[in-house]
Symmetry: C2
Subunit: 113 residues, 2 copies
DNA sequence: ATATAGAACCTTGCATTGCAAAGTACCCCA
DNA sequence: TGGGGTACTTTGCAATGCAAGGTTCTATAT
């Protein structure tokens, strides 16, 4: 159990929410998302993101449109669907509950030395 | 992607921290831990907890001592090791960072309607 | 034309791990 | 001796983050 794994494990389950949140702000493509996450110090790599976006698309939470780029092949720009907005709301609710639960447990144990 | 899975996915990675936090308060055995988690509305079942405790034990973060019970077979009461305390501190640090990161991402997108 | 570089997308395989379900072992009491 | 309750353990499955490798497209230099 390495320290490296800690952040990784914890990220699980909130990544979808973060990605949907980023897309909800404005249409973005994959590299934009990676950059936004990096700004928030949540490192994510392509191998994680592409399958994730596919899953969210299959689930009906996302759509995309192709746009050309001057610097390379065309890009997939993602947008949230109605269902995606709802889902994001649910995720944010669950996240809030989880944060509360964890604080209940952890704070009781903090020995303020 | 069912709503049922949301909480489950998010729980991943913080469970270890919560369990260590609970054990750090006082010596407990498995059923105690389940009950404490339930109080905080973090439902965990035996099939999750036992392998987890074994992992934490193998990693050197926990020790246990057997104690007899009036009501059944003896119980394993867990205590944190030195390494376990350190690890718990790390986890709490990572957790704090993650909460900040997520808030950075999510709050920027909240349209306070 | 051809080669090179770089951007963007996608796929495969692995390791981790929460969980359901089934199994084992112990204790008490009638 | 048998039944019920408690506790611990194991097996197999499904989900998923990620490393690594691959394909396709554009632009630029030769």
């Amino acid at each position: 159990m390495k320290t490296d794994n800690i952040q990784r494990q914890m990220k699980k389950g909130v990544l979808e929410m973060c990605i949907l949140a980023i897309i909800s702000r404005r249409e973005v493509y994959t590299s934009d998302i990676i950059e936004k996450l990096k700004e928030a110090e949540l490192i994510v790599v392509e191998g994680t993101l592409y399958p994730m976006l596919s899953r969210l698309k299959s689930a009906g939470y996302l759509e995309y449109s192709w746009r050309e780029s001057k610097y390379g092949p065309p890009r997939k720009y993602y947008q949230l669907t109605e269902a995606g907005s709802e889902f994001l709301n649910n995720l944010e609710g669950s996240w809030g509950k989880l944060v509360n639960s964890v604080e209940n447990i952890v704070e009781k144990n903090t020995n303020h030395e």
